[in-house]
Assembly symmetry: C2
Amino acid sequence: MTTSELKKMGERARAASYELQTMKQQDKELELLKCAEYLSIYKDEILSANAEDIERAIANDMHPGMVDRLRLDDARIEAMADGMRQVVKLKDPCGEVIEEFSRPNGLKIKKVRVPIGVIGIIYESRPNVTADAFALTFKSGNAVILKGGSDAISSNKAIVDILRRSLMSSNLNPDFVQLIEDTDRKITTAFMKLDKYIDVLIPRGGAGLIRHVVESATVPVIETGTGNCHIYVDKYADIDKAIKIIVNAKTQRIGVCNACESLVVHKEVARALSGRLVEALKEHNVEIRGDEFACDIIPDAVPATKDDWGKEYLDYIVSMKTVNSVEEAVEHINKYNTKHSEAIITEDKTTAQYFLDRIDAACVYVNASTRFTDGFEFGFGAEIGISTQKLHARGPMGLKELTSYKYEIIGNGQVR
Amino acid sequence: MTTSELKKMGERARAASYELQTMKQQDKELELLKCAEYLSIYKDEILSANAEDIERAIANDMHPGMVDRLRLDDARIEAMADGMRQVVKLKDPCGEVIEEFSRPNGLKIKKVRVPIGVIGIIYESRPNVTADAFALTFKSGNAVILKGGSDAISSNKAIVDILRRSLMSSNLNPDFVQLIEDTDRKITTAFMKLDKYIDVLIPRGGAGLIRHVVESATVPVIETGTGNCHIYVDKYADIDKAIKIIVNAKTQRIGVCNACESLVVHKEVARALSGRLVEALKEHNVEIRGDEFACDIIPDAVPATKDDWGKEYLDYIVSMKTVNSVEEAVEHINKYNTKHSEAIITEDKTTAQYFLDRIDAACVYVNASTRFTDGFEFGFGAEIGISTQKLHARGPMGLKELTSYKYEIIGNGQVR
């Protein structure tokens, strides 16, 4: 693929977005149901394409866990199709009148929710993201250009091809969804600079991918999904709650961005907490990396280095920092966190409010697991990612977060 | 200044933002009033600093119009102070509960409006932006780092110095506002990459400055203020309204982003419109650059080249494209506009709605001048700029557009 072909792809996406922005909610829903049906009907095409990806992955000595993420079977394809059917049920946010007001000169101003336009999504292995991303962008009225990882290229091609066939057979523009099939880095970099045609880029993947996009893109980026999440156990904590929440947030699923990576513990409760907590974490083989005070009271703890405080382990490891006050806890967390999800365990309302007011993160919890930061758990029905930046959208991004607005102003000849 | 000193500045801004985010509305208002007072009291410092800038500008053969924009006098300083007093009256948007809901598991979720954090503003000549930007960012709870143009450096230093003295004498952190005094390009570029400490960059200035920021920054950018604004005169237009609105939008102030730069005229009204319109524009010495049809019916028109359609003249020039339908008008405008402000003149509601639904711009007008795209005209009380992108904020940005949100989640031991 040449960069001029890529540019053409951008032009087609922009044109498609103008068709899509006025498509009726009902028509979008019917088409989404049909796309889901097509995925089921043509699943053999997906399975045989996926077999190519798997074969290549094994030949390249891919880690078995990664191969599993890549693998599709009947049940997983059915889950993809079901995911699309779920999105059908969500309310289309477009067209909502967000505000409406009149000015003294008689101008009537309406602030109306509209699709963003063209969304670019850059993601790594899992091919189910392809169908998910299309469903969410399409339902919210946006054209999408997908750039998946090279590992899943055959599966992604098959899925997008089926979606485009569904669109065409409904007499709709197939460019509502396009896939960049060229896996060359040069093309990826050029894609990130297509700001004339793409309104926002959403990278989904590891910290390295996200950093690369932030550094290369001229298209506005929404950073997602890096989570160095803390749980602060306050001196007024209910120890039972603390243990239950920490074990859940650390071990229920280790590879996700809302898992707990670091404990911050008030020194006054450290001893009372540590005995039972260490037992509970041991059952899951969790290694604790502690500061000096923590290591003193937890014989098995490994001394933490400075690097540990900022680390997203995504593993059975947790760091433990001890503090003398909630102020110190807040300062530590704001210094090392990734603005994702942070929790305090306390029975004291004033301390909880202090923490809520001052922690700089998308989601701040009192007495609950950080694992709830999720579009489904928040009741959004689906999510395209979890934003860790403060512009546009913060936290779980559902359909509404894939929209913008415009002002419609009705006059009667007014001039300045 | 070294880049490590710049980084320190970022760290101080981040720390200051954490203090500022919990400052009470009333305390912010009292301090803003005091800052305004300080500008008045110490105006001689500003005037003598400004004299240095003016002297340098004249020695460098700056265009007299530019020198005038740079020049401060008693009245202009008083206007700056008054601008700050106006901001005092605006409602502080922070703390607003945007949404509040409970989940079946008992979690109580609140979406609360909070300051963005640290805002960077890069701007060109006019020193009054310095005071304006501080007032708006401070009132909305954000720390600010300012990078003004080298032409106004002495004036900007004097103004920021006075603001910081006011903060210090109130026992507040002077780093709520900081100025980058080094005008070296390397420092400006490093500033744009300080994404660890700066949450958003707002460039204010010409298209060249904005493009440079978009291409260099790793900090999220809000693009502002480039306006290739169109007025489409439909076949159902009221010609009197059309002429009044065109003359206003083109000539009332030519150097602003919401001025009209291009006319799109339905061929069926082109003749009826052109005679009186040409007369009216001639009074203001406006040159018309038309397509073939336009040149045929307007003897004085200059043939437009392809470059004209995308041009923001900021001058007594207007391009004129003729079309056969509203569809063609919309297509032309969406192709060449900068997503700022577009208007249709028509008495037909269906055509107006077609235009409103399909034009891709922050502000779409029916029968009114594009010149109304402005924070004051919209009733926001003030503006930091006019966003031409679709992420975060679109159109005039007031205090609310300088905020983000966070989710506060109250549980009682919930785990997944």
